[in-house]
Amino acid sequence: MTTWEPVIGLEVHAELATRTKLFCACPTEFGAEPNTLVCPRCLGMPGTLPVLNKQALEFAIRAGLAFDCQIAEHIVFERKNYFYPDLSKGYQISQLSQAVATGGQVNIVTDDGNEKQIHITQIQLEEEAGKSIHGGATIREATFTLEDFNRCGIPLIEIISEPEMHSVEEAKAYLEKLKTVLLYIGVSDCKMEEGSLRCDVNISLREAGSDRLGRRAEIKNLNSFRAVVNVLEYEIQRQTELLNSGGTVARETRTWDEGRGESFSMRSKEEAHDYRFFPEPDLAPVEPGQAWIAEIKATLPELPDIKRRRYVEEYGLPLYDAELISGNREMADFFDKTLQYYKDPKAISNWLMGEVSRLNNQAETGFDKLRFSPQQLGELLAMIDNGQISTKIAKTVLEEMFASGTAPASIVEARGLMQISDQGALETMINSLVDANPGPAEDYRNGRDKALGFFVGQIMKETKGRANPVLVTDLLKEAILGKK
C-alpha cells in the first residue's frame, strides 16, 4: 500500500498591538460594549478616506525583520472585493503582490532534535472584519445575524508559509515558534482566546518521497492550536482513506466543527472567490526606506533562536533546557539577569524549570510577575554552594521568597534554617545514634548501603533538615565503619 506524506501550509493571522485601528483612529481595546469603538471610516460610510497607521506598518516591518524577510521597497495596498455583513465597506483593504515582507523563515526544532527551516512566502498587512453573531444554533439555522463593528479595521498581519511541513508535530512546532517570536518582538498579544491569533490550514497528501503536490483542502479560521492539531489529524486520515480507496481529494474549502471533530465541505460557488483585487486608490504607496528599516531592526530584542544557540554554545545548557527557556521571553530574561549574580547556568536553569516553574503553575502566574529578584535567586543558590543551607531547605526558602519577596538570607536567619556544619556537634549526635542502633549499623558494615539512609534520615529529623548532608554522610561512615 502507498505511504502518504502530508504536505502542510499555514496562514496565520495575528492582530497587531496598536492602540488604534489600521485606517482610522478608533481604539482597538478588547471587550468594549458592541459598536462603541466605531467611526464613519470603519463603518464604511461613503465619502470617508483611510489613512495608514504608521505604528501598524512598523509592527509589520518588525515582524518581517524578525523572520528574516526581505522588506519591500515599494509597498502597495490592494482592494479585495466581496460582500459579507461583517465587512462594512464591501471590500477589505489587504495586500497581494507588493506586500510588506517576502521570503524569510521560521526555525523549528523537530522531535528528533534537529533544526528545520520553514520558509515564509510573505507577510501582508490588512484590516480585520467585524464580528457576526448568528441568531440560531448554527449559521445555517440562523434567521438573522447581528453585527458588532468594534473589531472592524483592527490591523493584522497575515503570515503565509510555504507548504513545507510534513507532520502534525512540525505544524505545531511552527505555530508555537511563530507565536513565541511575535510575543518576543511585542507586535501582537497573540491571545487566541480573544481571537488575536487565528490560523488557516492547507493540507494535501502525496506519495512519500515524491515532490508532486496532491490536491489540497483548505480549512479556515481555526482559533486554537488544539483545533489545528485536530484538523490535521482528521484530514490526514480522511484523505488517506479517500486515496487508498481509489478516490480523489477535491480542491475545496472545508469548515471545521470542533464539537463533532469533523470537517465539512463548504460547497463553494466559484463566484465567491472572484475578489477582483485592484490597487487601493484611496491610499498612497509606501516606501519605508533603508534608514527607517535599519532603525526598526536595531530595536529588535535578541530573538529566541539566537538565545537558544547562545545558551547551548556559551553556557553548555542541554538543548532541551535552552529551547524551553528561550521559548519564553520572561523566563529567558530572568535567566539572563540571574546570570549576572550567579555563575552556574545549569543550576539556574534547573531551578527556573523546576521549583520556580512549579510555584508559578501552582499560583497561575508567570516569570514577569515574580516577587523575588534575579539577584535574590542568585543569593539563594550561592547559599547552597557555601554550605549555609541544604538544597532541601533552599526549596523551603524559595517558597517564602515566592510568597513575600523577602531576601533569602533574612528568611534563613529569621527562621533559624542555617545549616549545621559544626563537626563536633554533629559527631556527638551521630555517635549516640549509632550506639542506640546497633542493628542497622551492623547491616551497613555487612554491605547493605541502604542502612546508611536510616541514620541520615534520623539526623535530619533531629536537626529539622538543617544538618549538612555531605558532612553527615562522611561522619556517619566514619562512626560506623570505624567501630568494628
Binding site: 488604534t20 466605531v38 438573522f144 498612497a284
Partner: protein, 115 residues
C-alpha cells in the same frame, strides 16, 4: 476582446458579484454601456509603454501616515442612526446563508452562534 474589437462582458456574473437584480432589458443595456466603457479605456493599450515603470497610482505622493493616537469615536446612537434594522447594541442583517448555499469565507468569519 471580441472579433468586433469589443470586450466580452458577462453582465450576469457582474450583477451577481455586485448583488444586483437586473431585468433582461437592463442586462442588454448595461452590457452595451460597459462594453463601450471598456473599449474606450482599451485605447490605452495602443500606447507604447516600453521603458515606463509600472504604476499603481496617479497620486504624486508616498508615505501618508497617521500617528497611533486614539480619537473620539461615534456614540452608538449616532453610529446606528441610519441602520435599516438593529437589535439592542447591534446592527441586524438578514440571514446570510440561503438554502443549500455555503457560507462565504469572510475574513473575520469566526461567527459565533448565539446560545
Amino acid at each position: 476582446m471580441g472579433a468586433d474589437g469589443r470586450s466580452q462582458v458577462d453582465i450576469g456574473h457582474l450583477a451577481t458579484l455586485a448583488r444586483l437584480n437586473l431585468k433582461p432589458e437592463e442586462c442588454a443595456k448595461f452590457q452595451e454601456q460597459i462594453e463601450d466603457i471598456l473599449a474606450y479605456v482599451d485605447k490605452l493599450s495602443q500606447l507604447n509603454v516600453d521603458g515606463v515603470e509600472p504604476m499603481t497610482t496617479a497620486l504624486p505622493m508616498i508615505n501618508v501616515f497617521r500617528d497611533d493616537t486614539p480619537h473620539e469615536t461615534l456614540s452608538r446612537d449616532e453610529a446606528m442612526r441610519n441602520a435599516p434594522d438593529k437589535e439592542g447594541a447591534f446592527f441586524k442583517v438578514p440571514r446570510i446563508i440561503q438554502d443549500g448555499e455555503a457560507p462565504d469565507d469572510g475574513e473575520g468569519g469566526d461567527s459565533n452562534a448565539s446560545k
